[in-house]
Amino acid sequence: SQQGEEDPQALSIQEGENATMNCSYKTSINNLQWYRQNSGRGLVHLILIRSNEREKHSGRLRVTLDTSKKSSSLLITASRAADTASYFCATDFNNDMRFGAGTRLTVKP
């Protein structure tokens, strides 16, 4: 079974708004990663947060991790139409990678 579960499954916002996606997982992790996938393409790594970290930033991305709640969130600020894609969280525990089903983000111009 898949480890991570993203919420919501789909999100539609206007350009300039912020987008928040959540990920919950079930077991221990070494790190949690977020990936982006444009339709029909491979996944592109966005950001990695280690199990001993609580927050990380990269450009317009902000990731938080709460290991006590086994949850993570990805915030995309000032969204652009080009951010339209599917976003996946993936947990990594001793080289065993588990992906969630993803959040489909649509940013309307």
Binding site: S1, Q2, G4, N30, N31, Q33, G40, R41, G42, L43, V44, H45, L48, R50, S51, F88, A90, D92, N94, N95, D96, M97, R98, F99, G100, A101, G102
Partner: protein, 115 residues
Amino acid sequence: NAGVTQTPKFRVLKTGQSMTLLCAQDMNHEYMYWYRQDPGMGLRLIHYSVGEGTTAKGEVPDGYNVSRLKKQNFLLGLESAAPSQTSVYFCASRTRGGLGTDTQYFGPGTRLTVL
């Protein structure tokens, strides 16, 4: 650098046929992975390898075999294809850093249809 490449990009098989998917990476990565992605779902790990000559099972290994004879190549084989194996297959690789330090680089995917 080409990064991670996959061959072929598309393939249609009949039930019972066999085929091999090739993944190649030119980044000298130690770890390589094979995933499948079904419609509306995330990726599921089939098999992975932590080095030349080694392989291990992932979440959904049944019906697949793999080999890592060379560090840069990771082959995924289907001995007797079934319609349930219709999917998009992704290969990925990463370096062997300390746990929790390295990210995966993905290939463009192979779309396989089994009739």
